[in-house]
Symmetry: C2
Subunit: 408 residues, 2 copies
């Protein structure tokens, strides 16, 4: 019998460990899987053989439940982009897998990780390697993977943002003087998370008055007019803005900060809200504050969406199921069969349709003025944040699972 190997990659989320739990559960009921391993720090751990044996550690409902409620990648992560120049790195990975009798490999991650799955499965196919099946499982709070209705981790981050906005808005509304609060939300090229701030209005909350997604070119003059217009009838104006909003010339609003680029050549962004704070101070002169939801929005396991955690686990089960049944080069996807009542199905999509594509917010889900979202967007978002989780605590503090310590 062959072994299963699981690895995680890219930015962490509150739901990525539920996908590991799903893979483990599917393997536990299979008679084709011997041991279940986790590679530490993604593909780096695959290459250097830094594995831990999860088979016994996770062979209990309590441990699996604790894993599901532990934020961030329990197996660690990496940001290693594969070398495209030749096949030597792919050969190194495949040889490492074969040397350890790995028959099934599930890689959990976002766009870059799916690129790795794509290249790896193409290499396996090209070289006619038998008994090694590689599957992708989606993970990205940015919700920008195609083929799947939405991505694990997104619903929990969206719920954090929606709940946090209900609270922030209450905080901002206590004084009776004009004040603008600008909240910056993650999203380099896709505004899904920023859109989720609109959910804070659902139960009568006044929510953000203005929402700017990175899909629409950002006009600073129009922004100042929008804020002034809101201030004419409301003291506490709250603005939600994607970190990745761009000027009409395509440059990032925050680019002037000169923060450089990450290892993938993406512009490393920060400070969009700070730029807007300065702008409001200069052009309007009222009290103004900027807030970054920063890492909290992607690791708030205490406020995860129950729907998201369930689906994340099911997608891990789906990916593992296909690998065990001899499928390779696909990513597990969730399909929305019906919106209200919410009904989903699980399937897979060819990895080549997923890798390196970014699913952006459709133009028609942003209002004409470019400062809010439409009802279609709300219908899409609503089911994804539903369901409360009550993770284990001891003496008032969350309990998390710790799978390894080396390298932290």
């Amino acid at each position: 019998m062959k072994h299963m190997l699981i690895a995680q990659s890219g930015g962490p989320s509150a739901a990525i460990n539920a996908t590991v739990a799903g893979v483990v559960e599917r393997c536990m009921i299979s008679d084709k899987v011997d041991r279940i391993y986790g590679a530490i720090n993604g593909i780096k751990g695959v290459i250097n053989g830094h594995y831990i044996d999860l088979t016994d550690i996770l062979a209990s409902p309590e441990q699996l439940d604790l894993l599901c409620h532990t934020p961030s990648a329990a197996l660690g992560s990496c940001r290693l982009k594969l070398n495209n120049a030749d096949e030597s790195q792919l050969k190194e990975i495949v040889d490492a897998l074969l040397a350890r009798d790995i028959g099934y490999f599930v890689y959990i991650g976002g766009n870059d990780s799916m690129d790795t799955v794509d290249k790896l499965s193409a290499y396996i196919s090209k070289h006619n390697i038998k008994d090694l099946y590689v599957m992708g499982a989606p993970k990205t709070i940015d919700n920008d993977l195609p083929e799947t209705d939405h991505c694990p981790g997104f619903g929990s981050a969206a719920k954090y943002i929606a709940a946090t906005f209900t609270e922030l808005v209450k905080d901002c509304e206590v004084y009776d003087i004009p004040a603008v609060t600008i909240v910056e939300i993650m999203g380099r090229n896709a505004g899904w998370l920023t859109a989720a701030s609109a959910l804070s209005r659902e139960n009568g909350g006044s929510g953000p008055q203005l929402i700017y997604l990175c899909e629409r070119a950002f006009d600073t003059e129009r922004f100042i007019e929008d804020v002034k217009s809101c201030l004419s009838h409301k003291n506490a104006v709250v603005v939600a803005v994607s970190e990745g909003v761009k000027n009409t010339d395509g440059s990032y609003l925050s680019e002037s900060k000169g923060r450089g680029v990450d290892v993938f050549g993406h512009a490393a962004l920060s400070g969009t809200a700070k730029v807007l704070e300065s702008l409001v101070k200069e052009k309007i002169g009222c009290k103004v504050r900027s807030i970054e939801l920063n890492l909290m929005q992607r690791c708030a396991a205490h406020l995860a969406s129950a729907n998201d955690l369930s689906e994340s686990k099911m997608l891990g089960m789906t990916a593992a199921d296909r690998a065990i049944n001899g499928v390779s080069g696909q990513m597990a996807v969730v399909l929305r069969k019906h919106n209200d009542p919410y009904r989903v199905a699980y399937s897979t999509a060819d990895i080549s349709l997923v890798a390196n594509y970014e699913k952006k917010v459709p133009e028609e889900w942003i209002n004409e003025a470019g400062n809010d979202v439409t009802e279609e967007m709300m219908e899409y978002l609503r089911p994804l944040v539903r369901g409360e989780v009550y993770p284990a605590t001891q003496a008032g503090i969350p309990i998390h699972l710790n799978l390894y310590t080396e390298g932290k």
Copy 2:
């Protein structure tokens, strides 16, 4: 019969509305109170007569429960410092109260609000005004009011900080490369909230490696040495720092930013973590990120401490009880009778002992190196964050109470 008036002041918290609920409950069981009013925007609403009648709105367990779980001051707030030059403003307030048949006034707030209670009760006493009793109820996430063991709102903010650190640390630990994360926590002159980050280690979490409170002079060279020392045996180094840390010459570390002062003449701070981020970048050169917990730490009702909410309510009940029984010029306090098991009692303290004093962290509760807290501090903190709350949600989004709309 006379009426009860309640007002809230200063920065909001997740527990300040539980104190209103406590005042209301104590009035509901009294035969000496006619109507229960709330003044909107603190003492400003008292002066201009902007009242709402809470008697019927809150005459239901469900509404009171919803009020307890609604973050930020439900009656609004203000930052009006009383004019010290003459008695005209005090006369204006007292005349306004008497004109509306207010017999009992509970003012909920921090240091500056207790100064208002102090002046007001002194004026009433000096002018021999009958049948008007003014009491203070403590509120400050900063936990810096004297005479009371701790302050309502602190436990919830501390719980948010502790839980958030458990999650942030997990997030920071996913990569196997050296990285420093600096988390800035509220606290201008008192480091209680920053100390609460240490609670994140309680259930096996690795927590922040370094904790700097504003009570101890901050030495940037020592800080860099501390960080380097941590990096020598751990990749992911997380630092907790009070926004108000000061250089050895007494100037705020963030003062170079020139952010000016607020209406009370306090330096308006921000950016301490940013200053340290730049310092690490320059002196060490590894990956570094700064995070501000910003307003989220004071309004996270979804993560409030059950102990804190209960005590906040009891303190409102205590303040109302004394006012109804003809006491004036006192602040309700909570006293710790026993630490383990945790047992408390409620009493009052003379307002003159409270107003304008700041209770700082005792020197001996900070470790010798000035980069962590002691076990005594942990014993003090532990009970305050205990107990989970599960506030009402609808379709995955929190439900909050909205008592008024004007002026927001």
